[in-house]
Every structure is written in structure tokens, then in C-alpha cells.
């Protein structure tokens, strides 16, 4: 390796030479963050995008209600108001310097999408239409809800995702669809590429790169009831952990108030934004008790807790009393079919409920991961979680924690964050590549761990099954680390997770072939879920306060003195190590959070 010549392809032990690829930029994940970065960087450099699913199957497409920007197309709005709402919505855990960038650049990002051809809904004047969403208000919370969420009917994520895919085709981005990242190649603080599995044909591939970017999405699949796709197993986060890097604020998991009963499928917050009611079994608009001013348009953490409290106190609907109703009937058929047609379709197809005539049974569902890979404002991954970047490694979107959402994300801020920081990552990669023309040295044993992992699982012939362990993990995480948490159950859960890990060592799989083997993939994914779930639980146990989506019944108040700080956690030799970093406060001092 001493006479490394960056111009020739080098041997990687155990990987055939035709399976070693080279690109200036290798992006993992073809959702909004990954493809927005790819679009940006492909104007100047050779970009490859790997995705475990075909690009338009990415879960950004499932987002429904909108993307936030203070365009003021429908009524007065200002970035300062958007900033205040985001800070307060996140229960003051978001970094305010970065939130300021988010809300200031939001209009630019949304208009660019329009210029790319995104089919936004329109106002009578022909401008991008905007609707109300929870926690978005006028005049620093003093006024009522504001029309800020730019939307394409109730398919906003789908419209944005397909628009970006189209633009990436135009820019000749090289897609590797159905390639699954197995490990990162980080040595001496420099990211040199990654190792991936070709799902369709089988086989380990090495991607030698000057820069790697992760847009790998969230970790909702660790919970039983979730709006997340089956693919949202948080692989990227665990790959970062395994590379010896930290994760930030993992204990903050958002439960969306309105998941379709039993399936957990997202029922857009646009349902509340357009004026829908939440009712308990007595037909009472119970939000009156929890958020008398903002009612149904309070932020998600608060509404989810309110629903769960109604259920826990015996005011839930149905035989088991385990759901409440989202009632749209008073909106009328015309408004429902014009503004919420997908919701109508989902309620009908999955529950056989016609929401024009009947209320929709809903329950809270694990939805969004506030925690993730610590990055700076230019999306560089931070080796110490604070300021030291890993050279050539970037992350954006739900897998990252930049942190704009703090302890609780506002609706429509996620499509914004993913696109805006995807764009920033792309720009920052371009700046880096203009300076660094050489490929970093590729170690000969770069694929060692990945090859061993695949070989171990393909040969696994134990008695435990992936399905059973995963089901137990998801049930326990939901029950013991869900909307409400306390020390006793979290401690119990930590022990149970260790047991599950032991059982995971004894799994067996049925499919031993290389081609399109989801049996293999699901086993690898389960390993990832077990890895990061431990961090969620340990972080939740240590954080002895209630803030945003993290609600400790044994510590019901927010404790700014002790806990106005971000959690950083590493896994070293099987042990979890913690560090903390301060929250950046600029314009808005923490205040009591009421709606």
C-alpha cells in the first residue's frame, strides 16, 4: 500500500476486480436527502447513488401533507415566525443557528422544486398553495395557525421524490438500485468509500470514493406500530456506530398522533390542518383538555400524548378501547376529495371506512427519528459529535441530527430538512472535491468485516428465527420505550435487549442463495436494529426529564439546568459510552411550552 497510485484500481481482498467501483461521490439512499445531494453534485462531478430499494420506492414518497416555507403566498408569514415555531416545537433542544439557516433557505428550496417541475397545488393567483399544520403559528405563537405548508394535494412527498428522480435522470446520475450498504471504509479519520451487497445478483462490491454521503432514513421499524416502511431499519445509523463514530439524541422518537388503526399507516396531519376533529368514545373533542388554544393543531408530541392518555384512561373507542376517531365528516365530500383524496383511499382500502360518512379509527404510530448521525451545518459527519469532521463523509435527512428538530419535529419540517440539507450536502461536497482531486488510499482489507458478516449469516443454522426476535424487539420497544417511559421499564428493557442480542447470535436462516435474498438482508437489518435500539433505551434512561417526544412519567418536567444538552453515544467493545454537548441558543431563550 505504500506505492498507492490513485489512477489505478487496486485489489481488495475477497472482492473480484470488476466489483470494485470508483466514483467522486457515492451516496447511500435515494430519498429526498440523497437525491437532492446527487442532483446538486452531479452538475460537476461523477455521482453514484446506491439504494436498497428502487429510487422512487424510497420512503420520502410516503410523506403527505406538505413542506414548510414562509412564502406568504396565502397570508402574512415571516421566517422569524417559522424559526420561533420550530424552536418551541422542538422544546428548545434544536440548535438555533442551524434552525435559522433552515427557515431562511426554505423558500429558495421550495421554489427550486417548483422550477424543477414539482406539481404543487395552486392558489387562485397561480402561486404555490399553502395549508395549516400543527405548531405552525402567526406572530411568535401569539396568533392562530398560519398557512405555511406548501403542498401537492396530499401526495407532497411523492410529488417531490418523483421530481427529484426525474432531475437526477436528466443529470445522468449513476444509480445502483437495490444495492445494500454493508460497511463504511473509514481509516485515520478519512472516509474512503463503502462496501455494499448487490441484492439482485448477489455479491460484495466495493465503492471507492472521494466522498460518501448518507441519506439512509430513519429507524421507525424498531417499533411495532409505525408509519415507516419495511425498509426503514436504520441501517445507516448502525453502520456509523460500527465505524466507531457517535450518534446524537437517539432517545427522541416521534410518535405521530394519527396512524391508521392497527396498520400504523400515516394519516396525514393535513387531516387536522384542514379542520378535522379528534374525538374519544364519548364523541368529545378531547384536545380541549390538553391544548385549549390550539386544539387539534397542537404539535405532534402533545397530541400523541393526549390520545394515549385518553386510551389509557378508558376513553378510547371500540371493543378494546385502543383507538380514537379522526372525524372529517363536517368538511364535506368536495373538500375531502379535493384536498385529502389519498386519505380517503387509505381509510377505505385498509379499514373499509368511508371518511366522508364515518370517522377514521386512529392510534399514535412511531413516525420520525429526531436523533441520528451528528453533522455540522455543512452536513459533514462529526467524529467527536462536536466539531471534528470525518474527512469526506457527509449525512443529511432523517438519518442525521443537525439538529433542527430538537426534541420534537413539526410536521412539514422533515421534507424541508431532507431537501434543504441534501442540497447543502451536495454543495459542500462540490466545494470539497474542487480542492481534493485524489482518491484516498483504499486499504486491501476494506471488505473484511462485510465479507465476514455475509458469510456468517448465509451459513447461520441456529434455532432462533429473525422473525421472532424482530417481533419481540418491536413489541418491547413500543410498550416499554414508547410515548411514555420510566426508569423501571427502561432498565428492564435494557436487559431484555441484551437477551435478544444473545439470541441473535443463534439464528438460522432458510435461504442460503446469493440472488435476491431478503432472508439474508432481514437478518443483517435486525442486527442493525438491535445495535441502535440499545442506544435509544440507554439514552432515554439517562435523560431524567421530559422534553418534546421524550416523556418520562417519573420525571414529568423539563429540566433545563441539567438537560438542555444533546446526548452523544458511542458503542465501544460492546459498551455504550456517553458524552454531551450544549444546545446553541441565539434568538429565543427557553420558556415554558404551552399551546
Amino acid at each position: 500500500m505504500t506505492n498507492f497510485d490513485p489512477e489505478t484500481i487496486h485489489d481488495v481482498e475477497g472482492v473480484p476486480i470488476h466489483s470494485v467501483h470508483r466514483h467522486d461521490v457515492v451516496i447511500v439512499g435515494a430519498g429526498l436527502a440523497g437525491m437532492r445531494a446527487a442532483y446538486e453534485a452531479s452538475s460537476e462531478f461523477d455521482v453514484a447513488v446506491l439504494s436498497k430499494v428502487f429510487p422512487t420506492r424510497s420512503h420520502s414518497g410516503a410523506a403527505q401533507g406538505g413542506i414548510a416555507a414562509s412564502l406568504a403566498n396565502e397570508e402574512e408569514d415571516h421566517w422569524e415566525w417559522h424559526m420561533f415555531d420550530t424552536v418551541k416545537g422542538g422544546d428548545y433542544l434544536g440548535d438555533q443557528d442551524i434552525i435559522e439557516t433552515l427557515v431562511k433557505e426554505a423558500p429558495i428550496v421550495v421554489r427550486e422544486f417548483e422550477h424543477m417541475g414539482c406539481p404543487f397545488s395552486r392558489t387562485p393567483e397561480g402561486r404555490i398553495a399553502q395549508r395549516k399544520f400543527g405548531g405552525h403559528t402567526k406572530d411568535f405563537g401569539k396568533g392562530g395557525p398560519v398557512l405555511r405548508a406548501c403542498y401537492a394535494v396530499d401526495r407532497t412527498g411523492h410529488a417531490l421524490l418523483h421530481t427529484l428522480y426525474e432531475q437526477c435522470i436528466k443529470n445522468e446520475v449513476r444509480f445502483y438500485p437495490e444495492f445494500y450498504a454493508l460497511s463504511l471504509i473509514v481509516r485515520d479519520g478519512v472516509c474512503r468509500g463503502l462496501v455494499a451487497w448487490d441484492i439482485i445478483n448477489g455479491g460484495v462490491h466495493v465503492f471507492h470514493a472521494k466522498t460518501v454521503m448518507f441519506g439512509t432514513g430513519g429507524y421507525g421499524k424498531a417499533f411495532k406500530i409505525t408509519s415507516n416502511a419495511l425498509a426503514n431499519t436504520g441501517d445507516g445509523l448502525s453502520l456509523v456506530l460500527r465505524a466507531g463514530l457517535p450518534l446524537e439524541d437517539m432517545e427522541f422518537v416521534q410518535f405521530h398522533p394519527t396512524g391508521l388503526y392497527k396498520q400504523g399507516i400515516l394519516v396525514s396531519e393535513a387531516v387536522r390542518g384542514e379542520g378535522g376533529y379528534l374525538l374519544n368514545k364519548d364523541g368529545e373533542r378531547f384536545m380541549e383538555r390538553y391544548a385549549p388554544e390550539k386544539m387539534e393543531l397542537a404539535p405532534r408530541d402533545l397530541v400523541a400524548r393526549s390520545i394515549q392518555t385518553e386510551i389509557n384512561e378508558g376513553r378510547g373507542c371500540g371493543e378494546n378501547g385502543d383507538y380514537v376517531h379522526a372525524d372529517l365528516r363536517h368538511l364535506g365530500e368536495e373538500k375531502i376529495m379535493k384536498l385529502l383524496p389519498q386519505i380517503h383511499e387509505l381509510a377505505w382500502k385498509f379499514l373499509h371506512v368511508d371518511c366522508i360518512r364515518e370517522p377514521i379509527p386512529i392510534q399514535p404510530t412511531a413516525h420520525y427519528s429526531m436523533g441520528g448521525i451528528p453533522v455540522d451545518i455543512d452536513c459533514q459527519v462529526l467524529a467527536d459529535g462536536k466539531e471534528k469532521p470525518v474527512k469526506g463523509f457527509y449525512a443529511a435527512g432523517e438519518c442525521s441530527c443537525v439538529s433542527v428538530h430538537g426534541g420534537n419535529r413539526l410536521g412539514t419540517n422533515s421534507l424541508l430538512e431532507a431537501s434543504l440539507f441534501g442540497r447543502r450536502a451536495g454543495k459542500s461536497i462540490v466545494r470539497y472535491l474542487r480542492e481534493s482531486r485524489e482518491f484516498p488510499e483504499l486499504p486491501a482489507d476494506a471488505a473484511k468485516d462485510a465479507l465476514a458478516e455475509v458469510e456468517r449469516i448465509l451459513g447461520a443454522s441456529g434455532t432462533e428465527t429473525v422473525g421472532a426476535i424482530r417481533e419481540e424487539l418491536q413489541e418491547k420497544m413500543m410498550l416499554e420505550c414508547g410515548i411514555f417511559r420510566d426508569a423501571e421499564t427502561l432498565e428492564k428493557l435494557a436487559g431484555e435487549l441484551r437477551e435478544l442480542e444473545k439470541r441473535f447470535d443463534k439464528i438460522g436462516i432458510d435461504d442460503r442463495s446469493e440472488k435476491f435474498n431478503y432472508d439474508l438482508l432481514e437478518a443483517i437489518e435486525l442486527g442493525h436494529m438491535l445495535d441502535f435500539s440499545e442506544l435509544i433505551v440507554a439514552g432515554a434512561l439517562r435523560r431524567e426529564e421530559s422534553r418534546g417526544a421524550h416523556s418520562r412519567t417519573d420525571h414529568p418536567d423539563r429540566d433545563d439546568k441539567k438537560w438542555l444538552k444533546h446526548t452523544l453515544a458511542w458503542k465501544r467493545d460492546g459498551r455504550i459510552e456517553f458524552d454531551y454537548k450544549p444546545v446553541t441558543i441565539t434568538r429565543f431563550q427557553p420558556k415554558e411550552r404551552k399551546y
Binding site: 428502487f54 420512503h59 414518497g61 387562485p124 436528466k170 396498520q263 373499509h352 431478503y518
Partner: protein
């Protein structure tokens, strides 16, 4: 609860000699169980080798399109008990090369899409710091077009595609018309360039299978006839 037999058409690429074969699985199914739930249950508890694509579970990603009792649909949106009958036949979508079990190659889909320059083409620069204006009436013209999830159900059901593997396909025509019908797009000629061809529009014989097959209730045949009219108009004009 009802005991349902799932008769699944299987194919193992490592066992070419065996070719395609049917295998039956039994499962107790409850009200509310989707076909995707059932397939997952079988994969996770009975046979880990059973292979199919899936992701969002909510009918928006398009991964789990397959042929269910002879008709293309998304497994995640199909209620098992809604199908009626105690045996359900599940096959990979027709017309595409099968990779394994219910998984088919998406290459024909992508090839079709690429042929129509599937992105908005504009020559005039966008207004700075503003969106392009589009009236609600103009915007309405792309309703029923932009919602496509690229699941491939339409093209798989099309006899013209069965006979001509170079056929661009209804999914791609729908995409082309999504841009041709968009008041902001200035590249109609470019989107339609590949369509006036023996593998293009004229191979559509208005059989309407694509309309029936679309799980999102879109109408590719209508888009195709609009494009045909547009082509003729251009030729005569």
C-alpha cells in the same frame, strides 16, 4: 378467521432445471389482513426462501405489484378476505423477466421511462426568487397523471408489450403526457420524439388493460389517445 390457501408461483434462479412451479401455503387469515401481511407471515414463520419486493405497506412506493388471481395489483392494498374464495393464486407480474419468485426485473420499466425524456424541459429561465405561475385550471390538467407510482402494473398487463419487448409502454406514455400537459413545460417535441415509432404510440391498440390494471385508478389509455392526437396535429400542422 378463515383458512386460506396461497398458491404461489415460484422460481429459483439457482435451479433453472426446475423452472417455474407452484407451491401452496396455508394461513389463518383475519379481517383486515392484507395480502402483503399474509406473504410476510408466510416468509417469517413458514418459509424464509419465499421472495417478493415490499416496502411502504401503504400503496405509495409501488414495490409489491404482483398478479393476484390473474389481475395486477399491489399486495399491500389487497384485503385477503376481500378477494373471496379459499384459494388465492399469486404470480409475478407478466411480461417482465422473473428474477426470483415474485420479483421481476424493472429494466423494461426504466428503459421506457428514459425514452420519453422524463423531466420538465424549459427554455425560458424561471423567475428569480419566485415560482412559475400556474393557474389551478392549468394545474388540474396534470391530475390523474402525476400520481403514477411506477409499479409497472399497466405495462405488464399490456398485450402489445407481451408481443414487443421494445415497446415503450403505457407507464412511460403516462409520464410523457404528464409533461406535455403541464403548462410550464416547453419540451413537448422532445418528450414525444421517441413516441412516433413502431415501438411507440402506434403499437397501442386501445385494449384498455392498463386502465384496469392501475392500482391508483389512473388512465394511461386516455393519455395515449391525447398524445396520438397531439402527434397527428403536429404532423398535419
Amino acid at each position: 378467521m378463515a383458512m386460506i390457501t396461497f398458491r404461489i408461483n415460484r422460481y429459483n434462479p439457482d435451479d433453472e432445471r426446475r423452472g417455474h412451479y407452484a407451491q401452496e401455503y396455508q394461513l389463518d387469515v383475519q379481517k383486515g389482513t392484507t395480502l402483503l401481511d399474509a406473504l410476510n407471515e408466510i416468509k417469517w414463520k413458514q418459509d424464509g426462501t419465499l421472495t417478493f419486493r415490499r416496502s411502504c405497506r401503504s400503496g405509495i412506493c409501488g414495490s409489491c405489484a404482483m398478479t393476484i388471481n390473474g389481475v395486477n395489483n399491489l399486495a399491500c392494498e389487497t384485503q385477503v378476505l376481500g378477494l373471496g374464495g379459499s384459494t388465492i393464486t399469486v404470480e409475478p407480474m407478466r411480461g417482465y423477466p422473473v428474477i426470483k419468485d415474485l420479483v421481476v426485473s424493472l429494466d423494461p420499466l426504466v428503459r421506457g421511462i428514459l425514452a420519453v425524456k422524463p423531466y420538465m424541459i424549459t427554455h425560458s429561465p424561471p423567475p428569480s426568487d419566485q415560482e412559475r405561475l400556474q393557474s389551478p385550471e392549468e394545474r388540474e390538467k396534470i391530475d390523474g397523471l402525476y400520481e403514477c407510482i411506477l409499479c409497472g402494473s399497466c405495462t405488464s398487463s399490456c398485450p402489445s408489450f407481451w408481443a414487443d419487448k421494445e415497446y415503450i409502454g403505457p407507464h412511460a406514455f403516462l409520464k410523457a403526457y404528464r409533461f406535455v400537459a403541464d403548462s410550464r413545460d416547453e419540451g413537448s417535441a422532445e418528450h414525444m420524439e421517441a413516441l412516433d415509432d413502431r415501438h411507440g404510440l402506434w403499437r397501442c391498440h386501445t385494449i384498455f388493460n392498463c386502465v384496469e390494471a392501475c392500482p391508483k385508478d389512473l388512465n394511461p389509455t386516455k393519455a395515449i389517445s391525447e398524445l396520438k392526437k397531439e402527434l397527428v396535429r403536429r404532423k398535419l400542422g
